[in-house]
Amino acid sequence: MTVRAPLTTDRPHEPLTGSGDWHGAPTTTQIGILTARSMRALVLNRRLLIIGLLESLVMLVAFGQVFSGLAYAPGFPAGVRYVDFLLPALLLTTTLQSGIQAGIGVTDDAQSGILDRLRSMPVWPGSILIARSLAGLARGALRLAVLLALARVLFGYDPAGGARGVLAAAGLSLALSWSLGWLFIALACWIDQTEALHATAGLVMFPLMYASNAFVPVGGLPGWLRRIARYNPVSHGIDSARDLCLTGTTGPGVLNAVLAGLLIAVLAAAAAVRGLSRAR
């Protein structure tokens, strides 16, 4: 029988383990390394990538066609095609999906066991989460690019706000969804299970997107839902994105959306780091 000997005996002088001086990389290096890891998974997992891109196509076609009749409903802005009304909402919906994926990345890491290894190493828990959120942001940007290209090709999307307005709306959507994505990361850190996170994320997404002005004007909602929609940061974000796409400018609502998003991000990030750091 051949006996396998770790650190082969041809170098018996060599220490078995590496340097004892490695006590942890600086936080920025940790974030860089872990973001690269998450991005690699994003690119290598072709199935997930293709599904993500198809999802943009399906949403665009389904919502664009199924609800196109809403453009003739009372209260709908005059002279605006439904696809022009819809697309700013889809920008946010699409990028929010990437926020959920960031949370799922955390639960996947918990289930594969790599999270336990990272947690037993001198790695700041925040680095793991920031890396996941940055990878989610990159995924969101990629999906937005595909969505806008498809909208242009399939529906001739060319709003009055011009390319600059659309890009500004896309940037705002990315910023807001990155902020809201921390909600899903926080949930992931406390839930630990991918299946449970999927179910919970659905519960969070539903009111965020449907109790808002995403798919119909707020005026068309029942009274109680209208009140919720007016406070929903998603409504403020979509309002601003619509303004940017349709006119190239926006009002003070953008500040409300960004501030609300920032507040949610700070609170959720704190909860996420606390959830991940806790010794179970």
Partner: protein, 318 residues
């Protein structure tokens, strides 16, 4: 006179509850620096829970824990700078290659790019993973994943290394190689805590063992000490004919020695509960005019100690 060195691990009165289930109950443990300490116990005995607490991954419900001189509850981040863990389950990024897993670990620990590359190459070679280095870990066999897991634990020199059932999934050759690895680790002053269900592993490697049963410590000491204290020597008498075997069986039973008879092999085994029992065996055979072909003495094994202490508890997963 110099004061004795502080222990590497000190556990005092540790309790861990998961809801209504008590996983650990008032556990004490002391491990000196540079020692190998074995944790033995049936599935669900609390071994992995204890390792999880020592490795800062679990929070005890009560009691105090110090690792490398630091309180794990007050200074977990500092403890993590001094430890390395191989869990019971492999802890790899399965989407990444073996090389990338090792490189990432080295870089996160603080190695520069060049040092991380060099260390990665050395560990791949040492754990015989070079040929598969660039394949995703998902495509590795169970044994290869385990070897990669162990390699990731050895990326840097740590004061304390926790190996939770490191032999799981390894072939006999790899298991022997792991034993060699543990010996070489302790030679550099590293303290190793090893949980195992392979009693031979603990017997060969551990300076001391703690036996856990249902979350409680039922015995602690060196394997030799436990064998002396709890194990029993036995004598086996081999006989020439079936008739001799029957006669010897009656003779030994008549002397109150309770032999276990193995008729096909024509052998009788007597547990030597007292020092004088061996003399009694010889006298009883002599009185019955039986001349054995062979008389062998067996020292107690750790398996015997383990079974005596844990009361033959089931070893399958709960």
């Amino acid at each position: 006179m110099t004061a004795p060195a502080a222990p590497s691990i000190e556990v005092r009165g540790v309790t861990k509850r998961f809801g209504r289930v008590t996983a650990l109950d008032d556990v004490d443990l002391t491990v000196p620096k540079g020692a190998v300490h074995g944790l033995l116990g049936h599935n669900g005995a609390g071994k992995s829970t204890l390792v999880g607490i020592l490795a800062t991954l679990l929070r005890p419900t009560g009691g105090s824990v110090r690792v490398a001189g630091l309180d794990v509850l007050e200074r977990p981040a500092q403890v993590r700078r001094r430890i390395a863990v191989t869990g019971q389950q492999t802890t790899l990024d399965l989407t990444m290659s073996g090389r990338d897993n090792l490189y990432m670990t080295a870089r996160l620990l603080g190695a520069g790019r060049r040092a991380a590359r060099a260390r990665t190459g050395r560990l791949l070679e040492a754990f015989e993973l070079t040929a598969a280095a660039d394949r995703p870990a998902r495509a590795y066999s169970g044994g290869m994943r385990r070897r990669l897991d162990l390699a990731m634990t050895l990326v840097r020199r740590s004061e304390v290394v926790f190996l939770d059932e490191p032999g799981t999934g390894l072939d006999p050759a790899s298991r022997l190689a792991t034993w060699d690895m543990v010996r070489r680790l302790t030679a550099t002053g590293t303290t190793v805590v090893l949980t195992t269900q392979h009693l031979e592993e603990a017997d060969r490697l551990a300076d001391a063992v703690t036996v856990l049963a249902d979350g409680r410590v039922v015995a602690t000491g060196s394997p030799e000490e436990l064998k002396r204290r709890i194990g029993r020597r036995s004598a086996t008498v081999h006989l020439a004919t079936a008739a001799d075997t029957l006669t010897a069986d009656h003779a030994l039973a008549g002397a109150g020695l309770h032999p276990e008879c193995d008729h096909p092999r024509r052998a009788l085994t007597v547990t030597l509960n007292r020092d004088r029992d061996l003399t009694a065996v010889v006298r009883a055979l002599d009185a019955a005019a039986i001349e054995p072909t062979r008389l062998t003495l067996a020292e107690p094994g750790l398996d015997q100690v383990y079974l005596a202490l844990t009361g033959h508890r089931r070893t399958e997963a709960p």
